[in-house]
């Protein structure tokens, strides 16, 4: 199937990356997984090969090595139809706020790297006149809160970047979609106790990504609609009240 659509999933070792790859592979897409941990990407590729009957390609990519992005994109066998970036680093608020190097790592992993990588795809897709870019941001970026504002602010930056990119590309045939999953049961949150109704499985996030891609409507969405009222309230709360909360 040489004319199947192609998707590149950046963060291919992650649980959301794995689930997303499975959904696209099941629908007959050619999938490429990119990630820093190539062995883990290969492990996921094996899994999808057995389950879906088609094996994703794997390529190494470090989201912090921003100077290599242009060469990476130009080195791909084809410019993909869709790029999904699920890269993220939760960090540790308490540690990060007293360790600037750690804080910088969290910020660069969630904002600088993903934004610059997607930017490299944006111009190439724009000149082709077609393409879908999906960025996984976070509800944590909707308002900075004491419990996770280093992660949250980097996701806020990424959300704003995606919003701007969407605005820029909307008339050039490229659709930019922001997906905010809320809590997801993954390796990243394995140490946390999560509220059940607010917590999505990686497969649920993957389906939301695929459906949004198919719909080709440039927008920002929450995977579980319950997050919309919650985050609306958190966003519009007057600062004087907000400062009295412990969020």
């Amino acid at each position: 199937m040489t004319n199947a659509s192609r998707v590149l999933i950046v963060g291919g070792a992650s649980d959301i990356g794995r689930a997303t790859a499975k959904v696209y592979a099941d629908r007959g897409w050619n999938v490429m997984l990119a990630g820093r941990n190539v062995a883990e990407c290969e492990r996921n590729a094996d899994d999808i090969a057995v389950r879906a009957g088609r094996r994703p390609d794997v390529t190494g990519l470090d989201i912090l090595q921003t100077d290599r992005f242009a060469a990476f994109v130009d080195g791909l066998p084809d410019l993909p139809d869709t790029v999904v970036c699920v890269v993220g680093l939760l960090g540790d608020q308490a540690r990060d706020q007293s360790d600037p190097a750690r804080a910088a790592l969290t910020m660069r992993s969630n904002f600088e790297g993903p934004a610059l990588l997607l930017d490299a795809f944006a111009s190439r897709m724009a000149s082709r006149g077609r393409g879908v870019i999906v960025g996984i941001s976070s509800v944590a970026g909707d308002r900075g809160r004491s419990s996770n504002y280093i992660y949250g602010s980097s996701k806020a930056g990424f959300s704003a970047f995606l919003s701007g990119l969407r605005h820029r590309l909307v008339r050039q045939g490229v659709c930019v979609i922001t997906v905010k999953p809320g809590f997801v049961r993954t390796k990243m949150t394995a140490h946390m106790t999560l509220p059940r109704r607010l917590t999505a499985e990686p497969e649920e996030v993957a389906k939301a990504i695929f459906l949004a891609d198919q719909a080709k409507r440039p927008r920002s969405l929450y995977v579980r609609s319950v997050w919309r009222p919650i985050m609306t309230i958190i966003r519009i709360l007057p600062e004087s009240l907000f400062l009295r909360t412990r969020l």
Binding site: E40, R43, N44, D46, D47, A49, V50, G53
Partner: protein, 443 residues
């Protein structure tokens, strides 16, 4: 993280330090610093086999399928992959797992560790017989490939070894070809134990899959009326026109949301259920086409069915008694259970062949399974049943066990001496310890 762990029977409960590695590398790093640990799969062993004395390694995140060879029907999966996942992936391509237990929610690693058996054990052996090779993280930290040609003593000990030789990391399994995802089922209703046993013997000679369900509602005479279920994988030519070769996935409709009140399963409710079931089977008789999941895993249709027994949990007593004493001993056990007035929900009878590993449960004989709610009287009754089983040269299934004594266990498992010698050799003694191995004094 300390967790309160129990098996599927929800009895007993123990605290254990629960760890959940996401890769083999993480597992290896973790294992080096642990003592008194055991790996845990889906937590479907009924008793305390999947609870580490100190630490428990949750294997579910090692859930990648690694390779499939469609020429030879060999699939390689990480140990945390579930049976359901294997069937979902490969049944549409015409493959099935040659030995399956009563639930599809077990892990492949767990199936190896318990050497699980299915309704075809008398013909094709247990799960272990179909394992081509496995990767084991041995107690000293080496990742060893084990098969019938390589590290074969360790392979034999690991099959049915209840995780006490190391953490099973990866399994290569031989599958069988099937044409459809349907089973041709025949049911034979019987009126007493003698006719049930005769129908079962006949079924075992004829059919690939066979099992007998027995009504042991208190007060029912004669004891042992039942239903014998026979099954064959349906051929494509046997399906009515337009029927899909593999039945479409079905969402689970029913789940038990909370623990039900203790008294709900009583002699009257269980008796009524059993009578209904028997009448339905007696009416049906003729061959039926049944979905693979309904045929092999009927209880999976009810989510969390273990909550039916209430807060105190339940025990499943599964023994095997060698020929020729089997039928007589089964009759005696059924009499004792009936006399005690307990209300068992489920009594299942079938015959087994030989097991594959040192501590495998199956041996040529008859196996009887009874579920009972945990009460002091039931614990006494089961001790009594154990004495009958031991006297007849039989034994209990470790994957179901939560309470047998070390003496009952030792009497039933002559392979134990070799197993313990191997444990000493590989450094497992005192290092790999589950609540089960501690209770049964396995060295």
């Amino acid at each position: 993280m300390t967790a309160d762990l129990a098996g599927w029977g929800r009895y007993p409960r123990h605290n254990s330090n629960l760890l959940a590695p996401h890769s083999v590398a993480a597992l290896c790093a973790m294992q080096a610093s642990l003592d008194n640990y055991v790996a845990r799969g889906a937590g479907r062993a009924y008793g305390d086999a999947g609870i580490g004395l100190g630490s428990t390694i949750a294997m579910r995140a090692l859930n990648r399928m690694r390779d499939f060879d469609p020429v030879n029907g060999l699939v390689t999966v990480e140990a945390g992959v579930s049976l359901e996942e294997v069937i979902d992936a490969l049944l549409p391509r015409g493959w099935f797992v040659p030995a399956v237990p009563g639930t599809r929610f077990v892990t492949v690693g767990g199936m190896v560790a318990a050497d699980v058996h299915g309704k075809n054990h008398h013909r094709t052996g247990g799960f272990g017989a179909h394992v081509a090779s496995l990767k084991l993280l041995a107690p000293r930290g080496e990742l060893l490939t084990c098969s019938r040609d390589e590290n074969c003593a360790l392979f034999d000990a690991t099959i049915g070894g209840m995780g006490l030789t190391g953490a099973i990391v990866e399994v290569t399994l031989r599958l069988i070809r099937v044409e459809t995802g349907w089973v041709r089922q025949r049911t034979v209703a019987t009126r007493d134990l003698e006719s049930t046993l005769a129908a079962l013997a006949k079924a075992e000679a004829e059919a690939t899959y066979s099992v007998a369900w027995i009504d042991i509602s208190p007060g029912r005479r004669p004891v042992g009326r039942g239903v014998v279920l026979l099954g064959e994988h349906a051929l494509a030519a046997e399906l009515p026109e337009g029927q899909p070769v593999v039945p479409p996935r079905r969402a689970r409709r029913l789940s038990i949301p909370v623990e039900l009140p203790e008294g709900l399963l009583n002699r009257w409710s269980v008796g009524a259920f059993n009578t209904l079931y028997h009448c339905k089977a007696a009416l049906r008789g003729e061959a039926d086409l049944v979905r693979w999941d309904s045929y092999f895993f009927p209880l999976d249709a009810i989510g969390n069915w273990n909550r039916m027994y209430g807060q105190s949990g339940f025990l499943q007593h599964q023994c095997v008694v060698p020929w020729p004493a089997g039928p007589e001993v089964v009759a005696e056990i059924l009499d004792r259970v009936a006399a005690a007035g307990c209300a068992p929900f489920l009594a299942v009878l079938k015959s087994l062949g030989a097991g594959a590993g040192d501590l495998s449960f199956p041996m040529p004989g008859l196996t009887l399974t009874i579920d009972l709610r945990v009460t002091p009287q039931v614990l006494c009754l089961l001790d009594e049943l154990d004495r009958i089983v031991v006297a007849a040269g039989g034994r209990l299934y470790l994957a179901k066990d939560a309470r047998q004594s070390p003496n009952t266990f030792r009497a039933g498992y002559p392979g134990l001496a070799d197993f313990e010698a191997l444990r000493r050799e590989i450094g497992a003694t005192g290092r790999l310890t589950s609540r089960l191995s501690e209770r049964l004094a396995i060295q």
